[in-house]
Symmetry: D2
Subunit: 459 residues, 4 copies
C-alpha cells in the first residue's frame, strides 16, 4: 500500500496534463489539482498498513444488504477519487462475471488486473462518454471515423487505440483509466467494441482539464474550495495497450456489458449523493429563514415543507432500492435498478425547483453578498457586520457565511456545474425515464387495467 506522500510522488510520472491552455508540470501551482490531491493523500494515510500483502478493505463487493447499505456512506465520507476507484473495481468484477460464458479469457484477464490493482493500491477513474460526432449516426457513418474510441492497429503484443473521452472526472489525480464503450455496438463495429485499462503516463495519452475550483478567495467558497475535482477531455492519440490490459476487443455483442455494469454502481453513489444534497438544501433553507426572521411566515413554511417533501421522496427511493436489493450470481448485492433509477430521475428533474425555492427564501444577497474579505476590511467591515446582522442573536458574519454557502452551492461556478451534472450524469432525463419504463412491470399493470375495464385476461 502507499502512504499519502508516496501517492503524491507517484503522480510525477510524465503524464501529459493540460489546464487553461497550458501543460501542468508542477501540480502545486494549480490549486484545482493540488487541493483534491491533498484529500486523496489523506485517504491513503487513513488506510495505510505496511504489511506487504495489505490491501484497502473498502474495495470489496458487499456480501449482504447491510454491507451494501453501509459501504456507500463510508466511501462518501472519503475523497471522490477513492470512491471512483471502488466504482471501477466493482464494475470490472461485475463485468468479469457476465463475460465468463462468452469470453472466459477476458474474465481471467480482468480478475488478474483487479487483484494487481489492489496490490499496487492504485486509484482509477472510468472513461465512458465518447466525442460522438453527429448524434444521429453510427460510429462508422461519422464524417470522422474517430468520433468513438476505436482500435486502429492490432499488433502481436497489443492494440493501438485512437479517439477521445469526455466529461472524465479526476484524471490528473488517478493512476489509471478504465476505458469502455459508451453504448452497444453492432456487427461491423468490431473496432469500436474495445475496453481496456491504461496508465495516465502512456505515450499519446493527453488530458485537458477544467475545474470549478474557485478563483476568488477560498473564504467565499466554503464548499467548492474544499471539494473540487477536475473534469477532463481525454485524448488517445494512437495509444498502445498490451493485451493483458485489454478486456474487450471486437466482441460487439458484449460491448454494453461494461457500461451496464458501471451503471449499477454509478447510480447508487450518484443517488446517495443527491439525497444528501436535498437534505442540505432543506437545512440551508431552514437556517437562512431563521437568520432572516421569516421562518414563521406561511409561504416560507410551505416552501420548506416542499423541500422536506422532495428530500423525503428521494430518500424513499433509496430506501426502496436497498430494501429490494438483488443478489448477483457471484454472491454480492446490488441495489434495485427500478427504484435507484426512479430516485435518480426525481433528483435530477427536481434539483432546479429545489434550488429555486432555497434562493426564493434566502433573498437577493445570494447574488450580492459582500466578500468575507470586505468583512475583514477595517473601513467597511464593521458596517457589513452591522447591516448583515438581523438581530442581536444573528451576527452579520454568520449570515454572510450562510449566503456564501448558498451562493457557492447554487448560484456560482460550482452551483452551475451541479445543475448540469445532476441532469446529465445518468444519461439525461430522457434516458432515465426510459430506463425506469424498461424496469417497470408493465405486464402486471396491463393486467390490472384489463381487470378494471372488465376485459378478459390476455392469452
Amino acid at each position: 500500500m502507499m502512504t499519502g506522500q508516496q501517492y503524491k510522488e507517484s503522480l510525477n510520472d510524465g503524464r501529459a496534463t493540460y489546464f487553461a491552455g497550458r501543460r501542468v508540470i508542477d501540480f502545486d501551482e494549480v490549486p484545482a489539482f493540488s487541493t483534491p490531491r491533498g484529500h486523496i493523500a489523506d485517504s491513503y494515510d487513513l488506510f495505510y498498513r505496511p504489511e506487504p500483502d495489505a490491501v484497502n478493505p473498502m474495495f470489496q463487493a458487499p456480501e449482504s444488504k447491510d454491507e451494501l447499505r453501509d459501504r456507500i456512506p463510508q466511501l462518501m465520507a472519503l475523497d471522490e477519487v477513492t470512491y471512483l476507484t471502488y466504482q471501477c473495481q466493482m464494475t470490472l468484477t461485475t463485468a468479469a462475471s457476465r463475460l465468463r460464458s462468452v469470453a472466459p479469457e477476458m474474465t481471467a484477464r480482468i480478475d488478474r488486473y483487479v487483484a494487481d490493482a489492489r496490490r499496487r493500491d492504485i486509484r482509477m477513474v472510468e472513461c465512458i462518454t465518447d466525442a460522438k460526432g453527429h448524434r444521429g449516426r453510427r460510429p462508422q457513418d461519422q464524417d470522422d471515423q474517430d468520433a468513438y474510441v476505436r482500435v486502429v492497429e492490432r499488433r502481436d503484443d497489443g492494440i493501438v487505440v485512437r479517439g477521445a473521452k469526455l466529461h472524465i472526472t479526476g484524471t490528473p489525480l488517478a493512476h489509471e483509466l478504465l476505458v469502455m464503450p459508451t453504448k452497444a455496438m453492432k456487427p461491423g463495429e468490431e473496432d469500436y467494441a474495445v475496453a481496456f485499462a491504461v496508465p495516465m503516463s502512456a505515450p499519446g495519452l493527453m488530458s485537458v482539464s477544467t475545474s470549478f475550483h474557485p478563483t476568488g478567495h477560498p473564504a467565499d467558497y466554503p464548499v467548492s474550495g474544499r471539494l473540487s475535482l477536475p473534469d477532463s477531455f481525454v485524448i488517445f492519440d494512437d495509444v498502445f495497450v498490451p493485451y493483458e490490459r485489454v478486456f474487450l476487443d471486437g466482441q460487439t455483442s458484449s460491448a454494453a456489458v461494461f457500461a451496464h455494469s458501471l451503471g449499477l454502481w454509478e447510480r447508487l453513489g450518484g443517488t446517495s449523493l443527491m439525497v444528501q444534497q436535498a437534505d442540505e438544501i432543506a437545512g440551508l433553507a431552514q437556517l437562512i429563514a431563521e437568520a432572516n426572521g421569516v421562518d414563521g411566515y406561511g409561504h416560507v413554511r410551505e416552501k420548506i415543507a416542499e423541500l422536506t417533501m422532495h428530500a423525503t421522496l428521494l430518500r424513499a427511493g433509496l430506501e426502496a432500492a436497498l430494501a429490494n436489493a438483488e443478489r448477483s450470481e457471484d454472491g454480492f448485492y446490488f441495489p434495485s435498478e427500478l427504484y435507484t433509477n426512479a430516485a435518480r430521475y426525481l433528483a435530477a428533474a427536481g434539483f432546479s425547483a429545489a434550488v429555486q425555492k432555497l434562493q426564493d427564501i434566502a433573498g437577493g444577497s445570494v447574488a450580492t453578498v459582500p466578500s468575507m474579505l470586505d468583512l475583514d476590511n477595517p473601513d467597511v467591515g464593521p458596517f457589513v457586520e452591522k447591516y448583515m446582522s438581523t438581530s442581536t442573536e444573528v451576527s452579520g458574519r454568520y449570515r454572510v457565511q450562510l449566503f456564501h454557502a448558498i451562493k457557492d452551492l447554487t448560484a456560482d461556478k460550482y452551483g452551475g456545474w451541479w445543475h448540469v451534472v445532476n441532469l446529465h450524469s445518468g444519461g439525461g432525463l430522457y434516458a432515465q425515464r426510459l430506463i425506469t419504463r424498461k424496469h417497470y412491470d408493465m405486464t402486471r399493470a396491463k393486467a390490472l387495467a384489463r381487470r378494471v375495464a372488465g376485459l378478459p385476461d390476455e392469452g
Copy 2:
C-alpha cells in the same frame, strides 16, 4: 358470526336513511345501496364459521412487518366496509393503548367494546369531519354552537350528543358508527372532547347519502358499477349514548388521540389504494396507446414513461414506509409516518397530472364514446363496431370498452369523485405537506447544512 343473508337482514333495524330527497325503506330499490350491500354479504359468507365463539381473523393487529405488509392487500381484495371495520378496530386498539395512563377507565371500556364488536361480527365506519362552521373560529366561538359535535346533556346512564359529521363513507351499510373529535381541543372545550360508538338505529340519528353509483347503463360503467359506496352527511339530533359506549368525555388533552390513531391506519390503506390506482392508469395508458396504434410514437412513449415513473415513486414511498415500520408498545406494527405521508402527498398532488396524460394519450373518445347500448343496436351497432376498430387485431367493442373504463375512472361522476377524494382524504395537500415537515428530521438537515457552510455545530 353472521352469514351474508343474516347481514342483509340485520340492516332492517329502523335506521333513518335518506337518499336523493327521500327516506329509503327498501334498499333493493336503491342500487347505490344494494350493489355494495351484496359485496359486503359476500365477504361475510367468505369468512363465516358456525362455531359460537368464532371471530373474523382479518380483524387482528399485525404482529410483524410481514403481517403488516400482507394484511393490506388481503383486505383490499374484500369490500371496502370490511376494510373500514378493520380500520375502526385498529384505531380503537391504538387509542386504548395511548389512553391507558391518562384515562384507564376508557381503555377498559374500549377493550370490552372491541371484543364485543368482534363477537357480534358487526361492521363499523368512522365519523370524524365535523360541519365546522367558520373555519377561522374555535367551536365555542361559532355562530351556531353545534358546528362541532358536542355533549348537550349528561345523564346518569349516558350522554346526549348533537351535531353533524360529513363525508362519512358507507353509513347505510354499517351497523355502528365510531365518532371522534375532528381535531385537538383546548380547556373550556370539554363538551366537544367526545368519542363514542353508536348504532345506526339510534333514535335521533339520521344519515343523508349521496353516491357516484352510475345512473346510466351498468355496461358503460365497468368500475363504478361495481365499486360504489354511498357517502353520508350524518345528523345527531340529540342522540343518547350509554356510558359503556363513551370512550372520551371531556378529556380535552386526549381529544386528538383518536384522530391520530385513525390517521396511522387510514393513511396506509389510502396510500396502498393510490399506488394501485397509479399502476392501473399506467396500464390503461399502454393498452389504449396500443389499441390506437400510437404506442410507438415518441411523445406517447415519453408520457407512458412518466406514468410509470410516477407509479414507481409512489410504490417506493410505500416500500420505504414498510421497510421502516415501527413497533408500538403493545407489540403491533404500524408503517413509518414520514414515508406514508410523503407517498400519500405525491399521490394526491400528482393524480390530476397522471389523469391528464392518460386522457391526452387516449383521445377525445374518452368524452364522446358511444354507449355499449349503441353497440348493441342493430341499426348503428355494426357501424360503431366498424369505425371504432383500428385494425383487424383491435375490435371496436374492445376499444369502446377501454374508453368506457377510462371515462368512468377519470372523466365522469366517479372520476370527479376520485379527484376530490384523493385531494382531501388525508386532510388536503396543505395539511399533508406540514405533516411530512413535522416528521422530517430537520435537526439532522440543519447540521448537514452547517457543515456544508463551514459553520460550527450548534450548541
Copy 3:
C-alpha cells in the same frame, strides 16, 4: 328567417338520430336534446325579422380589429349552435378565398352555398375528425379503407361518400353538416380529399349521440342542466351529395385548406371560452373561500393568487392575439395564430392544475354535498341548512348551491367532459406545442443567440 317555433319544427325531417341505444323520434322525450333546442329557438326569436330577404347580422366576417374583438362575446352570449354556424360560415368564406386561384369553380360553389344558407337561416356544425383506424398508417394503408371519409362512387350529378366522423357537437340540433378532411392528403389519396355540405336528413346519414346532460335533478346541476349539447358519432353509409354541395373533390394539395381555415376561427372561440372559464374558476374559488371562512388564510390566498395569475396570462394571450390580428386578402380580420395557439395551449395544459386548486380550497363537500332535494326534505332539510351554514351571514342553501356549481363544473360528468375537451379540442397538447413552434420566429431567435455567443451572423 325562421322563428324559434319554425326552427323546432324544421328538425322533424326524418333524420336518423340515436341516443343511448335507441332511435330518437320525439325530441321532447330526451332532455339532452330538448334543452339545448330551446336555447337555439330563443336565439332564432331574438334575431327574427319577417322581411323576406332578412339575414342574421351576426354571420358577417369582421372588417376591423374592433369588430373581431366584439363579435366573440356577442356570439358567446347566444347558444353554442349559433356560434358553430358562424364558425362554419367563416371557415367556408376563408377557404373560398384560398381556393380562388387553384379551384375557382369551388370558390363559386361555396359563395353560392353560403349565401343560400344565410337566406334559409339554417344552423350548421362542422365535421372534421375521422375514425382514423390505426394512427400510424395512411388512409389507404388501413385494414378498413373507410377509416377516413371517402368518395366511393362518382355519378353524373354528385358523389357518394362513406365513412364516419367523431366528436361532432350538436348534430341533432343542426340542419346541415359541413364535412371536411381531417388532415392534409397526398397524391394517390384523391378519394379522401373531399369536402361538402349535407343535410341531416340525407339517406344513409346516421348520428349516434352522447351527452353530459345530467340524469339527476336539475337543481343539482346549475351549469350542465342549462348548457349541454350532444356530441355525435356521425355515420355516412353511402350518402349521396349533389355537386353543388361538393367543395373539394380530389384536389389533394388543397385538402388541408378547410381544416386550416376552421382552425383560425375555432381557436379564437375556444380560447375565449377558456379565458372566461379561468375567470369563473378564480371567482368560484374566492366565493367558496369566503363562504368557508378561509379567505384570509395565507395558503388559500396564495392559491387564489395563482388562479388569478393563470387567468391573467390566458387573457394576455388573447389580448396579444387581438392586438396582432391580421387582415386577410378579402379584407376581414383574423387573430394572430401564434398568440391564439399559445393561449389555447396554456389553457389546456393548465386546466387540471386550476381545477385542483379550486377543489383544494373548496373541500370534500365538492364530492359529498347533499342534493338540493335533501335540502327541501322536511325531515332532514333543516339540518342540512343548519350544518352547511358557516355563520349567520352564510346560509346553508347558498353554500350548498356553490358546492353544486363547483361539483358540476369540475367533479362530475360535465367536469370530466371539460377536462377531455379542453385537452383535445385543439388537437391535443402535442399538436398545439408544435403549432406554436411553427409560428414562432426561430430565425430571429437564432440570430439573437448567435449575437449572445459572439458568433458571426449566418449567411
Copy 4:
C-alpha cells in the same frame, strides 16, 4: 453634455469604493469596473452634442403608446447605467406628479433637481432595498434602529442620514444615487420616510461592490465578459444631504409613492429583458441541437417547442401590457400593471425550467467544455477541434463557442447571478403573485362565478 472621456474623468471624485476587501482608487486595475465604464463612455459619445443647453433626448417620458413601445428597445441597446438613469428620472417625474397635492414643495424640488440632472448630463442609479434586520419587525422595533435608512439629525440646511442599501446596481459608475424608502411607513416612523439624491462622493458614503465579471479568460465568457455591472452594498455613515436634494422627509403617508413609481418603470424594463432572454434561450437550444445533430429527435423538438411556448407567452404578456397601456395625469404613458406583473412573474417562475431544458438538450459539455485557450494550444488544440466537431459542417471551434455561451449564461457565475436576480428583482415570486392578485378584477370574476352557480347578483 459630457463626452465619454469627460465622463470617465468625472468618476475620479474621491468616492469611497471597495471591491474584494480593498478600496479601489484606480478603476483601470479592476476590470469589473473598467469594462462597463467603457460601455457607458460609448453611450456618452453617441449622444454628445456640444451646444451648452443640449440634453440627451432619451430621457423623455413617452407621450404615446408607440413611444412607450419604442423607447425600451432603444434604451436596451445602450448600456445599463444609461437605462437606470432613465428609470430614475421617470420615477422622479411620476412621483412629483403624485406628490403635487400633498407636498407641493417636494414636487417643485424634484422638478428643479431633474432639470438640473439633465443639464449636468449625469448618470444615476436607484437605492431601494434596506438592510431590513429581522423581517418580522417594523423599523423602530429592530434591535438595531439603523436597519432601515433613517434621518438621525435635522439641521438648518439639511438632514443627516444613516443606514445601508443593498443590491444596488452600478454605483461605482454613477454620479448620484436616488435613495427612497423600501416600503410604506406608518405614523411614528417619520424618520424612515425619507427620499433624497446624493452624490457618490459625499462624505460618509461608502460602497462595497461585488461582480460576476469573469476571472477566467474573456474568450471563455462571451456574455459576462461584455455585460457585467457591479452590485453594491451602500453604507450611509451619517451622510449630510442639503434640503434642495431631499424629496421626502417625514410624510409617512407618501413613503410608498417613490417605490411604486419606480416599480412602474422598473418592471417594464425587467420584463422586456426577460422576454429577450427567453428568445435567446430558445435560439441557443436550436443552435446547439443542430450542432449536436439532435434537432430532428422527437424529445428534443418537444423541448424546443416548450421553450418557444414559454417565450411566446412572455411576449404575449408584454404585448398585452403595451396594448393596455394607461395615460398618467401628466400625459405620459405607462404599461398596464396587471399584465406587466403577470409576464414578469412567468419569466421569474419559469426561468429555471427553461434553463434546465436548454442544458438537457446541450449535454454535459456545458459543464466540461475545454477553454478557448486549450483550443489555441498547439499540442492539444487540434485534438479539441477534431473531437468537438460533429461533422464536416460543424467545426469544433463553433461548437466550443456555443458551449461557452450556454455555460456563461446558465451554468457559471453569471448564470447563477441571473437565477437569483430573475427571482428577486420584482420582490420575489410571493410578492409578484400578490401584486397580480391586487390588480386582477376579482369583482367581475365573482359576478361570473355567481352567474355560473345560478346565484343572484350581490348587492
